[in-house]
């Protein structure tokens, strides 16, 4: 029983990581339909932000807290830069966007290599997050995982509040649901796009901060995880926040349970097979958005 519980928590924590990574994508890919292959490198930028801040500030706990807003802004601004310089010129050409942003991702990886050196680097985790919380004698959950879970849930709540209740959120949803109608109603759709992209990219930065608690920081850390994040958004239903949340956790739990009984590689294969089968059955994903648009 302990085992099942601890694996369940492992699954939830894998899900939380997936969710944090996919959350930014659910805005840029889900809401705006932009396939940004450089999203992973924005995550990397967030992670390196922690590394740099720790060098400047020193204290592990304090620099981690400072890193959250700073990484959000750094990654957000990088995202906006990519949007303004490239993606904006390629709307309605998804395959070109894919290739161009893929190029940007290679560029950013090389830039990271030149700036921070080829070897991966480490950050120190604050002492409060290095241990584990003992629920029973046998059942212990790592406190950094709890932190990531909390961070993911807070981020989801914040995005939901912004999308549902603020004027900005209303504009984002309007542009997403019917760009032409939003434009004729007097919305500056270009500006809304940029803001959406800023938030989506900024969330990638936050995800990067969280990832420093689990593994090393390196130029290729983004590419390793980005495919799974795309899967989460697609399976959850494009543009559907709740779909992203549910699928992230389900995928995490399935992955950890299968991995426990088989091996890492087999688990990945099984998860992919399940996803492909699911998309055959429901190509539109778990949830769909009902709109009156014809597309």
């Amino acid at each position: 029983m302990t085992l099942v519980l601890s694996q369940l928590f492992t699954g939830i924590s894998i899900g939380a990581v997936l969710l944090l990574i996919a959350l930014g994508l659910s805005l840029t890919f889900g809401q705006m339909n932009v396939i940004n292959m450089a999203h992973g490198e924005l995550i990397m930028a967030g992670a390196y932000t922690v590394y740099m801040l720790q060098k400047v500030i020193g204290g592990a706990g304090f620099s981690l807290l400072v890193a959250l807003p700073v990484a959000f802004v750094v990654a957000g601004l990088m995202g906006v830069l990519i949007e303004v310089l490239l993606i904006r010129r390629l709307y309605a050409r998804p395959l070109d966007t894919l290739l161009v942003t893929w190029g940007v991702s290679l560029l950013l990886q090389q830039a990271a290599r030149d700036l921070f050196g080829a070897p991966n680097v480490q950050t120190r985790a604050p002492s409060a997050l290095t241990g584990s919380i003992h629920l029973t004698d046998d059942l212990a959950i790592s406190s950094s995982r709890v932190f990531i879970l909390a961070l993911a849930l807070i981020a989801v709540a914040a995005v939901t509040v912004v999308l549902k209740t603020t004027p900005l959120g209303r504009r984002i949803r309007a542009v997403m649901q019917n760009r032409d109608l939003a434009a004729v109603s007097g919305l500056a759709t270009g500006r809304v796009d940029r803001l959406t992209f800023f938030i989506g990219s900024g969330l990638a930065g936050i995800a990067g901060v969280a990832l420093t608690l689990i593994g090393p920081i390196g130029p290729t850390m983004g590419t390793n995880i980005i495919v799974n994040a795309f899967l989460v958004v697609v399976v959850g239903g494009i543009g559907q926040l709740k779909g992203t949340v549910i699928v992230a956790f389900v995928l995490g739990i399935v992955q950890s349970m299968v991995e426990y009984t088989t091996t890492v590689s087999v688990a990945s294969v099984i998860v992919f097979v399940v996803i492909v089968a699911f998309l055959q059955w429901r190509p539109q994903g778990l949830f769909t958005l009902r709109t009156r648009s014809l597309a």
Partner: protein, 418 residues
Amino acid sequence: MFRIRGRRSATIVATVAALAALTACGAKTDDSSSASAAGATIDTSGSSIKVGLLNSLSGTMAISEVTVRDSLKLAIEEINAGGGVLGKQIEPVSEDGASDWPTFAEKSQKLISQDKVAAVFGCWTSASRKAVKPVFEKNKSLLFYPVQYEGLEQSPYIFYTGATTNQQIVPGLDYLKAQGKTSLYLVGSDYVFPRTANKIIKAYAEANGMKVLGEDYAPLGSTEFSTIANKVKAAGASAIFNTLNGDSNVAFFKEYKSAGLTAEKMPVVSVSIAEEEVKSIGTQYLAGQLTAWNYYQTTEGAANEKFVKAYKAKYGADKPTSDPMEAAYTSVYLWKAMVEKAGSFDVEKVKAAAAAGGITYDAPEGKVTVDGPTQHIYKTARIGKVGDDGLIKEVWNSGEPIKPDPYLKGYSWATGLS
């Protein structure tokens, strides 16, 4: 506005995945050489003799291989200061393998046919060694390989100055057995070295009454170890044998600690973590854990004191010395001894001098002898424990240098492995 929906988005995601896979794999290795069968020509005109240094100075392996290149250079400098080899100064030609195996093959060909070097020192991963092996064999040129590896190889044109399995992994297992450990859990990266090593470990365990309770592989570079940590914990083995490579160790040891495991309860024996890696993983995660090597910075002896002092003087007081660095440093001196015995830089004469036996060197790890038939060297196995200061202290050694046995012919349980 263009909308991507449903199947279409699935296709795009598949494309994305394929792109990612493409960059991850790289190209297949091919020696792509156009060498003459007559053997390599070595440029012996002039007052200096060229040797090649082939290490990754960029890419994921740079962190480790740069330290090897540095110790090779140190050895060459010392030899030059002492008058060189056969009256000639050694002139190193450094090439970057870029952590990319085809590049290694290409650069080794360049060193041999363009620079006409007398020997090449370098390579780290087994993949890079396997990539350059046919190049050296075809050109009949020499490679000195300084890293511990999985054994089961014996190229006539490679000298192996790192440990083979019976000088590192088998003594590691002997030590665990002597400590009364009866069950093992194997954790490794998913590539040739860990899989071969674990095959050997399982054969050993079966013959020695130890139980292997589980075996898990994570892709190279993987950072998700919470499930593996749970599995290890649930299996309750008395020790873990770790063949993970590179950064995965960081994630693994973090999860290991989070799962509440400790070096007292379930020690981990690692074969790819040396002083440099201890520094980057973090001492707080590794203190008390075991490693199996042939040399530590703390190894006693005048030769090592001299080596450590010279290295720190040249590269900085905070730079640790490690096993592969020591093996690289030693390899240059062994080559010098062979050349001097042969009285020539000619590859076949140098090989013959080594085969005749008696090539020794007082290395930092202790006296090493080249084993003529296998072209490996006799090495003392040392089990170490990571201290709170990040250095590794020896807790056990084999007492005398162990004869290299790359195919484990001297071990009855190992029949059928190769």
